[in-house]
């Protein structure tokens, strides 16, 4: 479980987070939704300590992240997996070396042991046998899948995904969503997903918070979001032509 309490962050005059509080539960897909530019990425990076907060506190299962020293943060980070918007695979390394990288840095495993774990992770994301490919040779969907494999290789307790299916065709997007959902449930991770895709919300949104103008404008579960009357949320939910027509029926 991750708890954020009263997070504030601004860049000069731009107030991106204005007192955001939220609880993200274990074994669930916790979605953060909102328009582009609403601060989803900034929020996630604040939770991860990649961006320094102006004020507020963050708890990882009762461990106060804001008060941790350098070594404690480093140890916590080994329990965190992250899927970046563009995959962020190291483009000088093969798929295998990418996934193996955290193991090489933080374990004393032999190559055989590491290889076994890499193959398991690749298999888990349906990419078995692609060990020797370079990131430049992968399609968008394959890239995301390898990035998921790398994110889960250390068996993290916390998984962060920034727009996991942006830039993918709808069908591949659904596959990636399902994959994240399955892994979250299997491994009992606390998963936090940024998205602006309503389809993901309806498919895997165990818990959803809606960010608007730096605040949490709504929270609830996937089914409830269709029935809200709040105009701001409705505008987001029914933004597409397809959604509008379906609502009319």
């Amino acid at each position: 479980m991750i708890q954020a309490k009263e997070l504030y962050k601004s860049f000069d005059d731009l107030h991106v987070l204005k007192g955001i509080s939220a609880v993200f539960e274990k074994g669930k897909n916790n979605l953060i939704i909102g328009k582009s530019g609403s601060g989803k990425t900034v929020f996630m990076k604040c939770l991860l300590g990649l961006i320094e907060l102006d004020s507020g506190s963050i708890l990882y299962d009762d461990r106060n992240f804001s008060r941790m020293d350098f070594q404690e943060k480093k140890r916590l980070r080994q329990e965190i997996g992250m899927l970046f918007q563009g995959g962020a695979l190291f483009d000088s390394l093969t798929v295998e070396k990418n996934i193996m990288f955290p193991l090489t840095m933080f374990t004393r495993w032999s190559y055989q042991e590491k290889r076994k774990r890499v193959d398991y992770c690749l298999d888990r994301v349906n990419m078995a046998g692609s060990n020797e490919l370079m990131p430049a040779e992968l399609s968008g969907g394959m890239n995301k899948r390898v990035a998921i494999a790398r994110a889960i290789v250390m068996e993290p307790g916390y998984l962060f995904c920034d727009e996991p299916n942006s830039g993918l065709d709808p069908k591949t997007g659904v596959l990636i969503d399902n994959l994240i959902n399955e892994i979250t449930k299997d491994l009992g991770m606390t998963t936090i997903i940024n998205t602006h895709d309503m389809n993901s919300v309806l498919a895997i949104g165990d818990q959803v918070i809606f960010l608007n103008q730096g605040e949490v404008a709504w929270k609830g579960a996937k089914e409830e979001i269709l029935d809200t009357t709040d105009p701001v949320i409705n505008e987001f939910v029914y933004a597409t032509e397809m959604a509008k027509r379906l609502k009319g029926k």
Partner: protein, 246 residues
């Protein structure tokens, strides 16, 4: 104000890069890779430029000193001093700033904009000591070797120039390069080469590390890295010469 900001942020980045590496074996592997990338791969351009410039320097010296009042060995002596004191350490370093500096800035810059640096950070790895330090160590070790090779090749080029000049004989040139030789000059040259190597790698890495935006900004930062490192090398050269040769 602006340059103070950069100086402060650069210093902080250097302090970060001095932290103990996360895994020593991986770190040494990275140093070896960088020695290959930054050093061995620069050898061809260093060889070509050195042999030709060496030849031109001795030709110029020969034509301009073609006088009965100047001893023949002066051509070799002048050529050797120009090469050892300035051409090889300074000019070749500026050329390396162009080749190596731009490649470092664009490599690290594109890792920044594609979030690979943040990916390292999330994993609990210090990106400065993982990415930047091996480059700095590699260049500080390998550049003095490159420059030594450049000196030898340029002096050889000078001999070819002397032969082609018809003004002096090859033997006179060789007597010239052997006269009044001070080992301290070579030490001075290699010392400043090491300083320049540090400037090239650290400034170019800094430039790439803090890039914001996209591909255009990466291109711009790599150009900027070449400009900045070249200027800094020339300045540092002036200061080091003041300190070490007076």
């Amino acid at each position: 104000m602006n340059w103070l900001f950069h100086l402060g942020r650069y210093t902080l980045l250097m302090l970060r890069s001095l932290r103990r590496p996360d895994k020593h074996r991986v770190f040494f592997g990275r140093v070896l890779t960088e020695i290959n990338n930054l050093g061995v791969n620069s050898l061809p351009i260093v060889l070509i430029i050195s042999v030709f410039v060496g030849a031109v320097v001795s030709l110029q010296a020969a034509f301009n000193m073609d006088s009965p009042w100047i001893p023949e060995y002066a051509v070799g002596l002048t050529t050797r001093q120009s090469i050892i004191l300035e051409f090889s350490p300074t000019i070749i370093s500026v050329i390396l700033a162009g080749k190596v500096g731009s490649s470092i800035a664009s490599e690290i810059g594109s890792m920044r904009i594609s979030e690979q640096i943040e990916a390292l950070e999330i994993m609990g790895i210090n990106p400065a000591s993982h990415l930047i330090t091996p480059k700095m160590i590699a260049a500080v070790i390998i550049n003095p070797f490159l420059i030594t090779i450049s000196m030898v090749v340029a002096i050889f080029g000078g001999w070819l120039g002397a032969l082609a000049s018809d003004v002096i004989t090859g033997d006179a040139y060789i007597i010239g390069i052997k006269s009044y030789f001070k080992l301290y000059d070579v030490f001075y040259a290699l010392f400043k080469t090491a300083i320049f190597a540090f400037i090239i790698t650290s400034v170019a890495s800094y430039q790439g590390f803090y890039v914001k935006g996209g591909a255009i900004e990466v291109g711009r930062c790599s150009t900027q890295a070449v400009v900045n490192t070249s200027i800094l090398i020339i300045f540092a050269n002036l200061i080091l010469t003041q300190i070490m040769l007076t």
